[in-house]
């Protein structure tokens, strides 16, 4: 039996998602935080890597907000405060780092945050009064107030 020996990772060649983005509410940081690793050509984690990794929203609506470029530590870059404010499905992130092969995340969704406001889409309009048998007059030309409950 030989003495034990170590095989170290080869040169960094690609980035890969460790923690994929998951469904998140608008304006709320991803939990768990998205993380990306630096790998060699054989898929080994390059634990010595300190490369800067950048995330971009490359599919779906909205913008990726927060600190989108993070230096890897022990070969992994963790993005702790990323948010997206536009709700929707089919969103994907792309991770890049210089000349390394990039990675595209799984598809994820952003849901609406808690209700914050009401707005009339169609305002009430002036309507001719209608004579009823009572006789009483009906109209729809007063101010309406909308209230909400969840």
């Amino acid at each position: 039996m030989s003495d034990s020996f170590e095989i170290t990772p080869a040169a960094a060649a690609a980035v890969a998602f460790v923690q994929q983005p998951t469904t998140v509410a608008a304006g709320t940081a991803f939990d768990p935080a998205v993380s990306v690793s630096v790998r060699d050509a054989y898929g080994n984690l390059v634990t010595s890597a300190t490369d800067s990794v950048t995330l971009q929203l490359t599919a779906g609506t909205g913008s990726l907000l927060g600190t989108t470029t993070v230096a890897a530590s022990d070969g992994i870059a963790t993005f702790t405060a990323l948010t997206i404010e536009v709700a929707g499905t089919g969103k994907q992130l792309t991770a890049t780092s210089g000349v390394l092969a990039s990675a595209v995340s799984d598809s994820f969704a952003v849901t609406a945050a808690s209700a914050a406001a009401l707005a009339f889409v169609q305002q009430p309009t002036t309507t001719a009064a209608v004579l009823r048998s009572a006789p009483r007059w009906r109209s729809a030309c007063r101010t309406l107030t909308a209230t909400a409950s969840l």
Binding site: A26, G27, E85, V86, A87, A112, A113, S114, A115, A116, A117, L118, A119, V121, P124, A129, A134, P135, R136, W137, R138, S139, A140, C141, R142, T143, L144, T145, A146, T147, A148, S149, L150
Partner: protein, 52 residues
């Protein structure tokens, strides 16, 4: 109904009330759809009921 970022909020109850004279009919709570819209059909204001 919208969140703080302008996204429609689904499955929430919205009701209407009238400011001013008259009695509103049809303003009972309506649930918002997937786009955050609550649609009130057949709204009317009875003017005589309030004054009689």
């Amino acid at each position: 109904m919208q969140d703080a970022y302008g996204n429609g909020v689904a499955v929430a109850q919205v009701e209407l009330s009238l400011v001013g004279s008259g009695t509103l009919t049809g303003g009972a709570p309506v649930e918002t759809d997937a786009a955050g819209l609550a649609t009130f059909a057949g709204l009317s204001v009875d003017l005589v009921a309030a004054s009689s």
